[in-house]
Symmetry: D2
Subunit: 286 residues, 4 copies
């Protein structure tokens, strides 16, 4: 048996960069966590430790800060695209760069004061490949939604280990992780993000749900409908169980009022919704 | 040497209870994490394992759920007071109960749909003692605030290990943990909380700061001014350092624009501000 | 544009099961975190919410506990294989099951007492597909290794953003995440795990390193050499930077003695090493 | 109402310092997380922002690194004592310093290679006060212990919310947080730590337990017996519940074999055990 080197990549993860835009009041912030991963012909460094094709991850970190200054106030997708192309276009031996970016939200509370919003994180993943070009995946995570009613779960398959009672009225709660693949690397990114986020909320709110899968599919369809620039949506929805507490031992009613919010285990529903004319995804997804 | 038993207490920590109020639309949630800690004459259980004075922590958990149903839609301070008194008043051998409660915020996005706000957590600590009565401490945590300017730091003490440069313009950012002691166990709790939170934000925003200590003191004073029901404020303010990145090696300016948001280490400023007529704190603080 | 449903799966995540083996002293524990994910023809539930092909995730949880009792003391790979096959073989509409399992280590400190070891977590991922059969990937994570010397980094590529100094003696530290694909679903699992773990440690310790990539490749090769039952290794190695602190401003030497252990950002080196006769991976990898 | 400044302190938290001792093989590591908190007459900086008495927290961080080099290979208690006295002795206006230190364990796997042990963290808290001198509290945390048997719980108090069944055989598991106050600031620190840790394990293992309170008290007494240099022990023991899974619905026995390891809520038992000749604790405890 001979060992051979397979796929490989390297980079700097979790570069925390904050850029202040003071051009008008209230001041605004770009508060980002940026991770870079580069690939190319890196055979030598693995086999012998020869680093001449290895741009240090420290340099990648420096590049994040330098580009943040050069680019000024841009949408995170533009930043990630520029950063990914920078490495592929200028570094011999690097044929592919992936940039992942998390963007944290802040709200103005004064002309130069902000409060961290604390809600969902906007995500961007860009892949730039010297052959196939640029691919952009937008997204969000930690958008926690809950319906107090209009959720049922019954008629499910049963086996000898099934003890779950059917229900025609339950709490449905999830922490949305959603990603949507753009058709092109050119878009009104801010507007597309706003519409995608709203579509996720609207579909969750308005779907009378018989299963979280049904809600997932509705959310994916709504994003495609509201964001025609996107051609594919991937969703991961944990079912954050809220169990109705049994108060009968205490002689008390519990008319869908008092719940136990459970941590583990949780259901996890994952799915993909595509436009029927979606182009091939190529290397877009990690 | 003989060993003797000193202070002790026991209870159930982190009971996650969610109560839905469906009495009007939009539905609202009480989403709480409740911890109970009881003390009294518990000598026997420590020495011999005799449990006859030990109300099980499982029962304490049950009590949280049962009271949530009985009390209906109440402010968290009322819930914590009722719960603490319940144990002291009814359980032989329990002379003191402490209840700590974290309350998570949700915002309506439909008649029966909500999104988790994700921002600060409201906190309540109640102590009820059969001798000294009830004590209420309100508070919040994870309120992250940032000023992009109006913060200086210079003229500080120096020794042989001092290398920090003085600055007349820096980012000032913190994640506020604040607690305020109420004079009485009776108050318009919701209004007091809203005024305290606003006071913290307003003081942070409006203080031209020469040190985080100065800002802390201003925040404490403002809470006392806006919430006369409170007589003491305790604050813990991490200095969430944002370091200006040195872009000179790349020939680029950095006119207070691009920052590195650091994780560790961080400054930590802690202080107490009291009304000059504050009554003794007794056992109010943990 | 029409929306179409793409890949999807669902299951119960993070079922925490502990099984005590009391058959001999010292007693031993299987302390596992088990996640199940099922796929098959789930079109209807997404489109209309019809659940008749949906075995509840609650049932999946029950099945974990029931099988833990039925199977008795088995290696985690055997448990995961049995669990995955259970769902595919017996549930109409389920054609593929993935089971992920984390196993936590405990050490005997008495005939029926144990202390949690706290070190690396053993991981197992099994996929069973009704067409292609069973696939087993072993692994570990959170194995934190450090060499105090015998690590250099120089001769790297440079651009205008490169400021890193070359070094011929640095600390090299990483938290190993390794996974190895087995050729067959039948093996002496415990022995293979022990050899793989030892191979990772030995290769890290004995490699005089000019780059973390070189160390990664050596680790992968060593696993393949010591565990011929495996045909592919995937490694993710964060470079846990230890920066030599500059004590010159204080007139002190720092002869590779005092370091700052950094959190973020960190280098991240990822790579795959294959046996030249490795069969196709099929659906083995998540 | 006038606002007045109460207690206050400030410092640098979580300075991560790693010191390599290369004086013999295998090399050893001091891997510490150090937090400093200083107090004194800090009225001016709170009221007006005048920083002339404020030694920057950045300087405190530098001092940690400089002392790590100056002191060489010392026990963490010696380091913390030296650091605390440094600030009080040399900085006008600082009358009290508290140093908290977490020490992480590593095990040699080669002459200059180590693996992180991952088990309990050793803790040190030192307070040095210009009036009352030096106080040392040793400790540990995250020492997770489990007995598979020899634990009962019955005969407890009951009320209308009690549903818990009595048991004469249960799993008892906890994650020990223990702190012990030393009589003097001079001791064989390494030996005392080893004896204290062993005493905690031995008492947990050898106590046939009717309640976790009883085990706690036994653990405290054992530390006092084995470490006469200590005069007081404080313990916080979460009851990490392991619930026997009900397999009856599946027609399966569960003879204390298969358990659900729960996360939240958990019991929390806290207590203090003192030597009868323990001197007053002064400002030793945070």
């Amino acid at each position: 048996m001979m060992a051979i080197l397979g796929d490989n990549r390297y980079g700097k993860a979790e570069v925390r960069v904050v850029r202040v835009d003071r051009s008008s009041e209230p001041h605004t912030l770009s508060d980002w966590n940026v991770s870079v991963s580069l690939a190319g012909d890196m055979r030598e460094v693995h086999l012998s430790g020869a680093n001449d094709r290895v741009l240090p991850t420290d340099t990648q970190k420096n590049t994040v800060y330098a580009l943040a200054q050069q680019l000024g106030a841009v949408e995170p997708e533009v930043f990630a695209l520029t950063l990914a192309r920078h490495f592929v276009d200028r570094q011999a031996g690097i044929s592919r760069a992936r940039v992942q970016l998390h963007s944290y939200g802040w709200t103005a509370v004064g002309p130069h004061s902000l409060v961290r919003s604390g809600a969902e994180v906007r995500t961007v993943t860009v892949l730039h490949d010297e052959q196939s070009g640029s691919w952009v995946v937008g997204g969000l995570r930690e958008l926690t939604l809950l319906n107090t009613t209009d959720s049922e779960f019954w008629g499910f398959a049963r086996d000898e280990f099934t003890t779950l009672a059917e229900t025609t009225d339950r709490i449905l709660a999830t922490s949305v992780e959603a990603r949507w693949r753009f058709r092109n690397a050119d878009c009104n990114w801010a507007a597309a993000y706003a519409r995608a986020r709203q579509a996720l909320v609207d579909a969750f709110v308005s779907t009378y749900s018989y299963s979280l899968q049904q809600t997932l599919y509705a959310m994916g369809c709504r994003v495609l409908a509201e964001v025609p620039e996107a051609c594919e949506v991937r969703l991961a929805l944990p079912n954050k169980h809220h169990f109705l507490v049994d108060l009968q031992p205490f002689g008390q009613p519990n008319d869908n009022e008092v719940y136990l919010a459970a941590d583990r285990p949780y259901g996890l529903i994952e799915g993909q919704v595509l436009a029927d004319d979606a182009p091939d995804a190529g290397p877009a997804w990690p």
